[in-house]
């Protein structure tokens, strides 16, 4: 299986003249990159930049697959799976309808049994799969976010505080998803809880006004 690499080159992000981080460079192809730092240090912003959902003030993010031509914008979009606390899915749709919609609108097939398997893998009961997401508890929503992040089997998985709101079983489910993703590619994980980082291959600690790697 070809290796996909996500590389940050000299990233800098400033908001209203305040520099959040600068000179941030790293590269990860396989294994876990832990992103730590106190609240407001820029973890969420960094992960959104990696996921292509925000632009850096300077520097760039490369996503490349070994031996393959440059990824198109659409391919790149799906090559980096992302979930974060501000990710919301459609409350009026069920979990199955949400996943089916995103697969179809992204131009990928949406086999019913595959979608059910994905939801079961994050611990959603069969009965819950057909219920509107607006009726979900915080933990169920978090499980659905993980299913969304892994919906396209991305070689790079970017997870921002993935354990928030989860019970012990839910945490185990996410740990299993992270372990599987580490096997096939790179995982970038940001958290305030050190217990979420299980033997990371790399680590970045953000300090808000600068960087310590």
């Amino acid at each position: 299986m070809p290796t996909t690499t996500i590389a940050a080159e000299n990233l800098e992000k400033s908001f209203s003249g305040t520099r959040l981080f600068s000179g941030l460079s790293f590269s990860v192809s396989r294994g876990l990159l832990a992103v730590a730092g106190r609240n407001g240090s820029g973890k969420t912003t960094l992960l959104k930049i990696l996921a292509g959902l925000a632009r850096p003030s300077s520097g760039r993010v490369r996503v490349e697959t070994e031996g393959a031509p440059a990824l198109s914008a659409s391919e790149r979009r799906l090559a980096v799976g992302w979930a974060g606390p501000d990710l919301e899915l459609y409350g009026e749709l069920s979990a199955l309808e949400n996943l089916r919609f995103f697969r179809t609108a992204a131009g990928r097939g949406a086999a019913e049994d595959d979608l059910e398997r994905r939801l079961a893998a994050v611990g959603l009961a069969r009965e819950a799969m057909g219920r509107q997401v607006a009726e979900y508890s915080t933990g169920m929503r978090q499980r659905l976010r993980i299913a969304f992040a892994t919906l396209f089997d991305p070689p790079v998985l970017v997870l921002d505080e993935p354990m928030v709101g989860l019970d012990v079983e839910g945490r185990d489910t996410v740990f299993r998803a992270i372990a599987a993703a580490r096997e096939r590619g790179a995982v970038v994980l940001a958290s305030n809880d050190e217990r979420d980082f299980v033997e990371p291959e790399q680590r970045i600690e953000l300090e808000g006004a600068g960087r310590r790697a």
């Binding site: 459609y90 995103f102 509107q132």
Partner: protein, 223 residues
């Protein structure tokens, strides 16, 4: 999977959401019904000399359609941002596909609104239409233009503060030529003629608006 079927998926998703929560639909239809009732009370079937009727009726019809549409159509992208679902959409679906799907949904919403408003207009104002086919063609061409411009502007202002004010400020100069042409076409159609020139202008406007929106979709929605 073709771009059209992907856009259709976005349209179907919006329609499913709308049928379940009924926000835009209720706002649009209630505004249209209220405006129609007020106009019929103010002018009524006999309140105007016959010679003045076509121009005023055409203008009133488009004013009702435009303002009713303005209560629902701009929600296309704004609703995504307000619900926090914009990130998931941007992460997985190209902006042009989202724009096409949402334009399609807004166009269908406009046609549904017109299909309810026009019979009411015919009855309450005793509107005499010389060429129903020309009126229908004007509704389709004008409605599509309104849908594509409103949807694009919705993407543009979705993440801005004061988005409602911003929408109106930007929409006014862009939609005014469309409305004036649509009113002119409706006057001619009411009198029994076929407004070929005005329809050509509307189709050209629709084409230009579609091309512009498609080319700028990514800038408006993703940046």
């Amino acid at each position: 999977m073709s771009g059209l079927s992907r856009a259709w998926a976005v349209c179907a998703k919006d329609a499913t959401q709308e049928l379940r929560r009924k926000v835009a639909m209720v706002a649009v239809f209630f505004f249209a019904a209220t405006a129609l009732t007020l106009v019929s009370f103010a002018i009524g079937p006999f309140g105007l000399p016959a010679a003045d009727r076509p121009a005023l009726e055409a203008a009133l019809l488009w004013i009702i359609l435009f303002f009713a549409a303005a209560t629902g159509l701009p929600r296309a992208f704004v609703a995504e941002e307000e619900a926090g679902t914009g990130l998931a959409l941007r992460k997985t679906v190209p902006a042009a596909v989202v724009l096409a799907g949402k334009t399609l949904f807004n166009f269908v919403l406009f046609l549904a609104m017109a299909a309810v408003t026009i019979p009411g207009f015919l009855i309450l104002l005793d509107w005499k239409v010389g060429s129903p086919l020309a009126v229908a063609a004007t509704m389709v061409a004008g409605g599509y233009g309104l849908a594509v411009v409103s949807t694009f502007l919705s993407a543009l202002v979705a993440r801005a503060g004061q988005r409602n004010v911003l929408f109106v400020l930007i929409a006014f100069p862009l939609i005014l030529p469309l409305l004036l042409t649509a009113i002119s076409a409706t006057i001619e159609a009411t009198a029994g003629g076929f407004p070929l020139t005005a329809l050509r202008v509307l189709v050209a406007y629709d084409g230009a608006a579609t091309c512009g929106a498609y080319m700028l979709a990514s800038v408006a929605w993703e940046d």
